[in-house]
């Protein structure tokens, strides 16, 4: 769940953010409909160097009894401490650790490896090399994705989220080559993110690319919007998309239960 200010938003290639509704409504719906974990990402936090999700987290954590991961703009041990105190179970780090990899080691020691999730935003260059980006795919770092993934692993992160910025928000399917290379490389669980356009894509990234878990947004958000009339803060952000009540033709939006049934049909064990 990408959050900007008070709204849940969604972009394509992490750009052109559209307002979809209230985060609390989506969180409750997903919790009640079988989500295994919720990830809240403050998508503009890095720009302002702050994470503004504390209120959303503490509200959510009172009534939602599944793991909650929070990311966006977390720069220091004290930032991490603050969101954990607000009720997050895990934190997701990107910009801060690419600038200062030792923070992974320090944070893992202090809060336990399993609390520290590192996100890698990958863009495939024209020469075929994958480079890591930060700030939602905006900032070039020049760091090779696979070298960075190995380092993240060795510094003691508990989980790794690999986002294909090229596929993110497109519904074209996961970058299977990227995910399978990362998954084969590291010894920690890998969460695939970016590209799910239908339930078969989710199954495929597990069976073909070895993902240990999958993060999905648009595929489920568009279905939620169809099924629910969410109230939108129309004074902020671009809510035109929502008013038009259309979803992209690349998405065969569905419920979490349909995704999970598809996984079970493909021999993947999961909670229903």
């Amino acid at each position: 769940m990408d959050i900007k200010g008070p709204n849940l938003v969604k972009g394509i290639h992490m750009e052109g953010l559209r307002v979809l509704g209230k985060p609390a409504d989506f969180a409750k719906y997903y919790y009640e409909n079988g989500a295994d974990e919720l990830m809240f990402m403050d998508v503009v936090a890095s720009l302002y160097e702050r994470n503004s999700l504390h209120d959303i987290i503490s509200e959510t954590a009172k009534s939602i009894f599944i793991p909650i991961t929070v990311g966006g703009g977390l720069r220091s041990i004290s930032d991490i401490k603050e969101v954990l105190r607000a009720g997050a179970d895990k934190v997701c780090l990107n910009t801060a650790v690419i600038n200062n990899p030792e923070l992974i080691r320090e944070a893992s020691r202090m809060f336990g490896s399993s609390t520290i999730v590192v996100a890698i935003e990958a863009i495939k260059e024209s020469n075929g090399q994958y480079l890591a980006y930060t700030d939602n795919g905006r900032e070039h770092t020049g760091v090779d994705v696979f070298e960075w993934a190995q380092k993240v692993n060795d510094l003691g992160a508990g989980e790794l989220v690999i986002t294909s910025v090229d596929r993110e928000g497109t519904g074209e399917g996961f970058d299977l080559d990227l995910v399978s290379r990362i998954s084969a490389l590291v010894t920690i669980p890998v969460i695939a993110h970016g590209g799910a356009g239908n339930k078969n894509h989710v199954s495929e990234v597990i069976t073909k690319a070895g993902a240990d878990a999958v993060a999905i947004s648009s595929l489920l958000h568009y279905h939620f919007i169809k099924e629910n009339s969410s109230s939108v803060h129309s004074n902020e952000g671009n809510s035109e998309f929502l008013k038009q009540k259309r979803s992209y033709h690349t998405f065969q939006d569905c419920k979490i239960a349909e995704v999970k049934q598809c996984l079970i049909d493909n021999g993947i064990e999961c909670r229903i």
């Binding site: 954590a61 954990l84 009720g87 179970d89 336990g112 989980e159 010894t187």
Partner: protein
């Protein structure tokens, strides 16, 4: 309104892990719980919850620094109900293999072991951070806090080490992680403990809190 007859439960804070969610679970099912690092709050409690996520040795060091080791052992000897969660389960055991050998609270005989990095030449992802199912071993779940949980129910796990109890009779559930079968919950006299996080396992998990409290006359 304060009900003076309400039993007091202390969630032991030794500075590792998300205690907020444990407290939230207690509040939701009606357990009168406080979070504390003080020996007197353990002495005065009717029951204890020992939570935690992180490293075994650091946890024991923290408990030692807070002078809580003997306090917890005393509470256990007085037969106060103790509910251990995740690292809190592991601390109850004799010793851990983590970074050499560390001594635990020694309330349940057994050893803490690390998941192997590979099994039959196949890589095992460690930590296990996943929903996984719990199933019955020799002991039945009726009359235990798991009474409302069905066999093979999924619960949320986060751990790199697992407990290996010396006595099979202490094992309450088992779980299979990528081919490794291990003990995922125990019960022994006044002690009940889970490797998984019931407070993160939906209402099915919260039923474990509720039933633990009910069976021990805490609510």
């Amino acid at each position: 309104m304060i009900n003076n007859n309400l039993k007091k439960v202390t969630i032991i804070d030794y500075h590792l892990g998300n205690l907020f969610s444990v407290k939230q679970a207690c509040d939701t099912v009606g357990i009168n719980a406080i979070i504390s690092s003080k020996a007197e709050d353990i002495d005065n409690a009717d029951a204890l919850i020992l939570p935690g996520v992180g490293a075994f040795i650091e946890a024991m060091d923290n408990l030692a620094d807070l002078n809580l080791i003997e306090t917890i052992k005393k509470a256990a000897a007085e037969k106060k109900p103790i509910f251990g969660i995740c690292l809190g389960l592991q601390l109850l055991f004799t010793k851990s293999e983590e970074f050499g050998t560390g001594e635990g609270l020694n309330l349940v005989p057994g050893t803490i072991r690390k998941f192997p990095a590979d099994l039959d030449g196949r890589k095992v992802k460690v930590p296990q951070i996943a929903w996984n199912s719990i199933y019955e071993f020799e002991k039945k779940w009726s009359d235990t806090p798991l009474m409302d949980v069905v066999n093979n129910e999924f619960m949320y796990f986060v751990h790199s080490y697992y407990v290996d109890p010396s006595n099979d009779m202490d094992i309450l559930t088992k779980t299979n992680y990528d081919g490794i079968e291990y003990c995922s919950a125990i019960s022994k006299d006044n002690i009940f403990a889970t490797q998984f996080h019931p407070e993160k396992s939906t209402l099915k998990g919260l039923s474990i809190y509720k039933n633990w409290a009910t069976l021990n006359n805490l609510i």
